[in-house]
């Protein structure tokens, strides 16, 4: 099999072997229903509660504040719609211009359904404008939804500062922390966050399981109505094997958090510094330090991202791009556009997102393979020659002056 160097961990992650092992018995002998009265099924309830405890632990919450869902998108939908339904007279939503589509498109959809929507802008480093946030929240603002860390750039928002403002103004605070959980220490017991979404497959659990933290006392109506599962906050027979897997993944993520901040960050920095130093017309998207330890988003100006990805794929490197052409959309990433990244750079953006499974040898392999790929596409590009001539001219003019 062809070599695979996987650096697309913000898209999804490898399921940890320990997680798979944890899950297997629940597909086989332990197939009962946790709601059953008999011991065979009922015993699973206790095990599931232990998993809930592990999920609560990683964000400093208590187990009753956690409900299991099918994915991060469901958690976001449940949170925002669940709060809106609890405050029928409040018709205003505040969010940011750089949210994941799970929040971004949901809010746009709700705006079409009659809600009023305010989107807070970010600066050219992807940082939130807190004054704009303060001005945006009104008496009839039901919910403010702000992500913790951006999936495309890794930029971390000051959620607690934002939370202070939201609390002063009396709105409910939802935080999409899908990219942050497991990478950043979180403590809901000392937080201003009312609801927080997390997703299994971003932290080495499988796809198809997520969780939503709902602070005790926060008004909430269920998105999925039916039986009395999850304290009547999310109906549907519990996905026991995946919930057990998510519990294990959170336990592991707690153990590896230091490594994420240390070794993984070092690898990311090495890759980033190498690329920025060796490739002309390359630039970092997003704030240099207020960023997830695993993510780097780099633009290669005057060339196009999908073409870069195809050539990376040829040598087994898995990354992603904010280019328009990768998604079938015609405009590049809404996140990069919100940051005011020029079109010359937005189309040529590539995101590398690492995990604890990456090795230094892999980083060296990527660093070695990038320059010839970029050169190859620059040689085809009609712009590079002109730009270099312009730059040359600017330098010689400056020298004369």
């Amino acid at each position: 099999m062809k070599r695979v160097v996987y650096v697309d961990n913000n898209a999804t992650t490898r399921v940890a072997d320990e997680v798979v092992e944890e899950m297997v018995p629940y597909f086989k002998e332990l197939y009962g229903n946790p709601s059953s009265m008999h011991t065979f099924g009922g015993q699973l309830y206790k095990r599931m509660e232990r998993a809930r405890g592990k999920v609560a632990d990683i964000i400093g919450a208590t187990p009753p504040e956690i409900i299991f869902t099918s994915c991060g998108t469901e958690s976001d939908n449940a949170a925002i719609r669940g709060v809106l339904e609890s405050y029928p007279k409040k018709r205003h939503i505040v969010t940011t211009r750089v949210e994941h589509p799970a929040v971004f498109n949901l809010c746009k959809y709700l705006a079409r359904k009659g809600y009023e929507l305010t989107e807070i802008s970010v600066d050219n480093q992807g940082l939130l404008d807190l004054d704009e946030l303060r001005a945006a929240i009104r008496d009839d603002t039901a919910i403010v939804s702000i992500m913790h860390a951006n999936n495309e750039t890794g930029v971390i928002f000051p959620v607690e500062e934002a939370g202070q403002i939201i609390k002063e103004k009396g709105a409910v605070f939802h935080c999409d922390a899908v990219q942050a959980v497991g990478k950043l220490p979180l403590d809901m017991s000392r937080s201003t966050i009312d609801l927080l979404s997390l997703s299994g497959h971003k932290l080495h659990a499988p796809k198809g399981v997520g969780a939503l933290y709902i602070r005790r006392g926060v008004k909430f109506q269920p998105l999925i109505v039916g039986g009395h599962h999850e304290h009547s906050k999310r109906a549907g027979t519990e996905n026991v094997p995946y919930i057990m897997g998510l519990g294990k993944a959170c336990e592991l993520a707690n153990e590896y958090m230091k490594e994420e901040q240390g070794r993984v960050k070092c690898l990311r920095d090495k890759l980033e510094e190498n690329i920025l130093a060796n490739i002309s017309n390359s630039r970092l998207n997003g704030h240099k330090t207020l960023r997830l330890p695993n993510t780097t988003n780099i633009s290669f100006e005057y060339i196009e991202g999908e073409a870069i990805l195809l050539l990376l794929d040829e040598v087994g490197i898995c990354a992603s791009s904010g280019s328009a052409c990768t998604s079938g959309a015609l405009e590049p990433s809404h996140v990069l556009r919100a940051m005011g990244v020029p079109f010359t750079a937005a189309h040529g953006s590539v995101r590398f997102s690492l995990s604890r499974y990456n090795t230094e040898e892999e980083i060296d392999y990527i660093a070695k393979n990038i320059p010839p790929i970029i050169k190859r596409l620059k040689d085809i590009s009609p712009y590079v020659k002109e730009i270099e001539e312009l730059e040359q001219k600017a330098v010689s003019t400056a020298n004369r002056g």
């Binding site: 079409r112 005057y302 060339i303 196009e304 991202g305 999908e306 073409a307 195809l310 050539l311 040829e314 280019s323 328009a324 052409c325 990768t326 079938g328 959309a329 015609l330 405009e331 590049p332 079109f343 010359t344 189309h347 040689d379 085809i380 590009s381 009609p382 712009y383």
Partner: protein, 279 residues
């Protein structure tokens, strides 16, 4: 992940004729960096035949492949011969492109047209002259008309895949629909003689109206989150109600009513009138 043909991959990984011919006899420049792709085609002619062709492209895999294919296709031909090349020919040469990527083949054709115009001493290719319909991507009615005709397109989505028009703010969608209706309507007249107006039974009429709404009208509206439902038919008056985004948008209602009416007149009977009722 795109399902590219082997030929597309071959032309992307091993592009032919990359570069710029110095003192070229014809230069075609299309696209720009903001739109996400651009192509510069340079041609050398000898005795009226293209003896060399080179390209430079800023764009995705299929844009590079389409440009590479184009340079191979034009070599050895006269300007009169290459004038006949359509975007579909370029796509066929590559064993097809994903529909969302058809605009790459259109860009190739446009660069070729621009080069021909440049060779003949015109400032602009004919397609660049029309009125701009899509302001986001700078696409003219001429380009849209031609692509609809040459590729038998029938939906706004298809027009977007082929030309990018309508892929930004979407405010030009009613204009694109109008152009589709015009081109398709004109074709219908050309290919089929107008049906003699014969008395249709009410049941037959109802069936046809229902069928036309289901097959021709609803799919287009639903692309934009809208919908329409047949409420009643009385003589030649068809009563419909709008749903979804159509119901909330007063300006689109007018356009949609006209679209529904023109479709029903085209497929069912000339004298039909559409009236809106509240749902």
């Amino acid at each position: 992940m795109w399902d590219y043909s082997d030929k597309v991959k071959d032309h992307f990984f091993h592009p032919r004729n990359v570069g710029e011919i110095p003192n070229a006899d014809a230069v075609g420049d299309v696209g720009n960096i903001a739109c996400g792709d651009a192509l510069r085609l340079t041609l050398k002619l000898d005795n009226g035949r293209i003896v060399d062709a080179k390209f430079k492209t800023f764009g995705c895999g299929s844009a590079i492949a389409a440009a590479s294919a184009l340079t191979e296709m034009v070599k050895g031909k006269t300007m009169e011969e290459v004038e006949k090349i359509t975007n579909q020919d370029i796509a066929d040469y590559l064993d097809g492109l994903p529909e969302e990527k058809m605009h790459c083949s259109v860009m190739g054709q446009e660069a070729l047209e621009a080069a021909i115009a440049n060779y003949r001493g015109f400032k602009k290719a004919p397609a660049e002259e029309g009125a701009i319909i899509c302001k986001c991507f700078g696409v003219t009615d001429k380009v849209i008309e031609r692509v609809i005709r040459e590729n038998s397109l029938s939906t706004i989505d298809q027009v977007t895949h082929y030309t990018k028009a309508g892929g930004g703010c979407k405010s030009c969608h009613p204009d694109i629909q109008r152009i589709i209706d015009e081109v398709r309507g004109a074709e219908a007249v050309v290919v089929s003689k107008p049906k003699p107006a014969k008395k249709m039974s009410n049941i037959k009429k109802m069936q046809l109206v229902q069928e036309t709404i289901e097959k021709e009208i609803r799919p287009v509206l639903m692309l934009d989150g809208g919908d329409v439902e047949l409420e009643d038919i009385d003589g030649d008056t068809v009563y419909v109600s709008f749903r979804g985004s159509c119901a909330e948008c007063p300006s689109s209602k007018v356009t949609i009513k006209q679209t529904v009416e023109s479709k029903l007149r085209e497929f069912v009977a000339e004298g039909l009138v559409v009236e809106e009722v509240a749902s």
